[in-house]
Symmetry: C2
Subunit: 242 residues, 2 copies
């Protein structure tokens, strides 16, 4: 049974401030919860339908709820079979950026876009993502959902990009509309790739750090590409292209 | 002023059945409404804040509403300055597929994904998209929103894929997890590219039409890529790669 206080507590984790204070976050759905358990996220509490609880009887801290209970605490219109509260992971604050491609996100504000970017980065073996403080929170329920488990494998660091880029000296590429065609750029093993805000692009105070502006060639008439699609094409082009 | 009947009517267009019966659809937001007007969609009625109406005084059929009125008819949590009812476009039912890359969507059900795919197709100059009947409706409000105006330029045809692929004889590529690396495939000017459902992939009865399975090489650990990101990478690779 789900107490009223528990329901309130879980709903309160919809706000970043409360997630930060409590050091935990909410994940929904069989696939995502499974992946986070597998990758070692510490479980605070799990709320699940009878069937899920029976299938996962080795897991402690499971509270059986009915569908109405699940609906009360879900962030989604169609709640899934299980909702879990996990402890946030301690992020590595000073990873090594040498011989790696690292994504730098400047104000990606749509949670779905951020989640899809994290999932795409994971596909291409990106270990670290640096994000400006106004980028969506990785522990937002919609971000967690759309990463499809990749949140467990990509290290995300929120920091002031100006200071960060000033003190890290590897090549900096910036995705812009007026850059060199990414298809004409050589494969690389070491760089920062900056992806800007969905509407406004890369902030002016960050642009001086860019050594190479890169663009995705356009054939048709769309004004811009979705930020996650652009990220996918750029990572593919820099890491895979023959 | 917005009458109660008008508000009801606009809300009713949230359902595909009503959009089909009425031959019209709803678009929200300054950018999307502007693009649809520019590209010649016939306006049935526009509901806008005073400022938008003043800035667009050359446009007929504008009804001034206040923010509360706009909120009543909006499909989104934060309604924009303008909501318009447009007539659907007559789609070209028998376009020419020779010397072109055409996208074929098999059950893309997420409206945001479909909108982003249409926008990406427009970026790469794709003229036609063929979609299975269970693909999300192009006139769904979230699809219209996430196409960012590209709905005006891409011709979308809903049809039975089995019959369609049987009667059109150009090369068929299918995006699958076990295909040949798309980076190893030559640029092409003429093919169908099938993109499958977000979770289930391409239906079994469609798979026999595939002449070449294509995949996006994976370096990391994500289980799959978002359908719109995958579409972007494949179109980039087939159309642009040097």
């Amino acid at each position: 049974m789900l107490s009223r206080n528990e329901a309130k507590y879980i709903q309160s984790l919809g706000h970043k401030k409360n997630r930060d204070n409590e050091g935990c976050f909410v994940a929904e759905g069989v696939k995502v919860v499974d992946e986070l358990i597998q990758s070692g996220f510490a479980i605070r509490k799990i709320y699940a339908l009878k069937k899920w609880a029976a299938d996962n009887s080795d897991i402690k801290d499971v509270i059986e709820v009915d569908e109405a209970g699940l609906k009360r605490i879900s962030n989604f219109e169609t709640p899934n079979k299980v909702i879990a509260v996990f402890e946030k992971k301690k992020l590595r604050q000073s990873p090594d950026f040498n011989n790696k491609i690292t994504l730098v996100l400047d104000g990606i504000q749509d949670p779905g876009n951020l989640g899809t970017i994290i999932r795409t980065a994971d596909w291409f073996g990106i270990e670290n993502i640096i994000a400006s403080p106004d980028t969506a929170d990785i522990y937002n329920a919609k971000v967690v959902q759309s990463t499809m488990g990749s949140i467990a494998r990509v290290n995300m660091i929120y920091t002031d990009l100006d200071g960060f880029l000033y003190s890290n000296k590897i090549p900096v590429y910036g995705a812009m509309l007026d850059g060199e065609a990414v298809s004409a750029i050589k494969k690389t093993e070491e760089c920062f790739v900056i992806i800007g805000n969905e509407g406004k692009g890369i902030r002016e105070n960050i642009q001086p750090y860019i050594q190479k502006k890169i663009s995705i060639p356009k054939i048709g008439n769309a004004e811009s590409l979705n930020a996650a699609v652009a990220t996918g094409i750029i990572l593919y082009s820099l890491k895979i292209k023959i």
